[in-house]
Structure formats: C-alpha cells, structure tokens
Point group: C2
C-alpha cells in the first residue's frame, strides 16, 4: 500500500519551513508544497487553524500523520527515514547537535520572527532583529568551536545545519556582521555547495515573488 506524496505547508520566507525543506531534500523524500502566505494572514484561516492550531509553519502531512513544529518533524523524519541520518550515533554527540538546534530554535528564531517584530514600531524592527540574531549566533559560534568539523557537529550534515542555514537567511536579511564568526561562515559555504540546501533556499521556492528572487544572494 503506497502512501500518497507528503505535503509540506510552507512559506518561502519562513526559516522554520526551510529547516524541513532541507531535511526532506537531504533525505531524498519527494514532497508537494502548499504555500501559506504569512504576510496575507493565510495561516490564520479557519481551514489552516483546524489543521494546525498553532497557526504556524511548517506543517507536514506524511505517512498518514499530520506533523507540526519543525524540530519535531525533523526528529520524525530521522526516525522513520534513517538513511542519510541527521543525528550522529553517539548520545553525547546527539546532545551537542540538539543543543545547537535549540540554541537556534528556542533562543534566536522565536525572538526575531514576524510575530515579535510586528509588535515593535516599524523603524525599530530591523535593528532589533539584527541584535537578537547577532547575539544568538555569537553563542552558536562559541558552541561550534567545540563541535564543528566540516559541519556543525563533525563532518556530516545534521539537524543543526538544517537550523543554522535558514537562520543565516535572516542574518543576511538584517545585515548581521558575521566577520567574527569563522565557523559559521565556513559551514554556510559548505552547506550551500549541497543541492539539498540550495533547493531549499527561499529564493528557489515557487511562492517567492519574482522581484525578490532576482535580488537574492544567499
């Protein structure tokens, strides 16, 4: 009994959606996309709220399950689709990966997302986001000093890289200075050489407007 293709509810600018796009690409899991425009408020529609009461992205329908929360989704994918693992075998190393995942998913992303920025006066938003991301990435850089090889933890791609690279989209958007973060810059370069990461980039999504797409660097 073959399952239907997975469906990912996503928005091109959503860094949490990008985490899951990378994980799906990396594992070679084909999926269909449904764009949910956060700026137009499509995530607050009755239909979407029924699907995902958190009114957040991403949401993945796979194997008959409806899954919310990007980190929970990556953990699920790694358990059910173990090829191309996103976690090392050793529990201590797994904890290091998850610590970086959480340093981004709990301590950076939630404090600089649109929901928070919209509570600030417009002229303060960019500066606030820049400060949050700079401070948070400086912590990640210090963690990477102890854990990084070619990627965040050792020489294989893990969930930590799936979280770091989309956070860097936002870092570039808000002109965060990464010059004192050599590990982060080296990992970004290596990740962007991989098709799984390149195809997940916001500028490559079908719902990215053409004018933004043409302005994309990274």
């Amino acid at each position: 009994m073959s399952q239907p293709r997975p469906i990912l509810y996503t928005y091109f600018r959503s860094s949490c959606s990008a985490r899951v796009r990378i994980a799906l690409n990396y594992k070679g899991i084909d999926y269909d996309s449904r764009a949910v425009n956060l700026v137009k408020g499509e995530h607050t529609s009755d239909d979407y709220t029924e699907l995902n009461p958190g009114k957040l992205l991403p949401y993945l329908v796979i194997d008959g399950e409806g899954l919310s929360q990007s980190v929970a989704i990556m953990e699920y994918l790694d358990e059910v689709y173990p090829d191309k693992p996103l976690l090392p075998q050793d529990p201590g190393q797994r904890a290091k990966v998850r610590a970086i995942v959480n340093a981004i998913s709990c301590d950076i992303q939630p404090l600089q997302n649109m929901r928070v920025l919209l509570t600030l006066p417009e002229e303060q938003r960019a500066e606030y986001a820049c400060k949050i991301i700079s401070t948070g990435l400086a912590v990640v850089e210090r963690m990477l000093e102890k854990t990084a090889g070619d990627f965040c933890v050792g020489n294989q791609v893990t969930m930590a890289d799936c979280c770091l690279i989309p956070q860097l989209y936002n870092a570039h958007r808000f002109n965060v200075d990464l010059s004192a973060m050599p590990h982060i810059r080296a990992i970004e370069e290596r990740a962007n050489a991989l098709e799984a990461f390149r195809c997940a980039h916001w500028s490559r999504q079908p719902d990215c407007p053409d004018d933004l797409r043409s302005s994309a660097k990274n």
Copy 2:
C-alpha cells in the same frame, strides 16, 4: 568504573531547569545541584560562561559530558537511561510529544523569560507575560484535545509533561486564567500527585528564599 554523581546547574525559578529536574527525578537519577542565581547575574560570570557560552540554565554534567539546553538534555537522558521512558515507542506519537515540547520551549517560554521581560517597562511586564503564556497555552490545550490521556500524550508521563508543568508555574505567577483549559488543569493535577514533579517544584529547591517558599501554592 563508576561515574561521579551528575551535577545540575539550576535556579529555582528557571522553568527550563525544572524540566530537567523533573526528568532526572522521574528516571530516579540522583544528582547534586549547583545554584546559579539569574537575578544576581551569576550566569554571566566568566566561570559559568566558559562552561556554557549560552549563559543559560540548566547545564548538566553527566557521564563525563557537559550538556546544555533543557530539551537536548531530556533527549540525552531518555537515550542513555531508557527506564521510565519520556517518549512513546511509535514515531507518530513521539512527534506529537515533541510538537508539544516545542510549542512550549520555542513558542512560549522564550517570549516570556526574564531576558525579554527586562527589556519592557516594569509596569508592562506582568501583562505581557500573561498574554504570551495565555495565547501559547491555548494552542497547547487545542493540541491536547487530540493527544491527551492521563498526561499530555496518552497515559504515560513524557517530555511534554516535563515542559508543561514548569510553564504552569509561570502561568500561575502571572495570573493566567486556565479555566477554559480543562486538559491542562487535569494534567497538572495528575502530575502534581507524582513525587518526581513535586520535588522539582521551585518552592522545594534549596536556593528558593524562605519568604517565597512559604507563599507557594503550586
């Protein structure tokens, strides 16, 4: 070769520390506590920053590993100390637990912690925290409608309960109205009947000042 007793760096009021206190208690892992007073800024000392560059709590030294980030720590404990599991066996159910964990650890706690509240004028802090927690717990309540048994997911304690109960300490502190959240209230009552949760309560920690301890309800 027996390992030394685990050491948990903790603060009585830190809800992230409480998650790990509950997990350790539930699994019957004895540990020593080192209090780090967040209000006095002890987490920003050179010694602590060297240990944990994130300058956050908790931090657990166990099995020769130094582990940061409460959710990563709980995952480690569940992998290395599998008795009294904090995740179900089925991947879909595990994803539901982790979705609730993340709905709290990414979407509620970071937006109402001291670091954020201190950026607001003092007279606005309680109202802001109350609103963040109310909104976030309303989402969790809707998730629980589909997943709860005696506890957040099914009838066994999971990481989701280890996150929910400490978030409720903060809900009570900021007078969040839980009357429309019957699942949350029922789970709180069942959890508080368990020694693992009771002993992890902020009022039971050695670093809790006596005047606060005597005012504690739950």
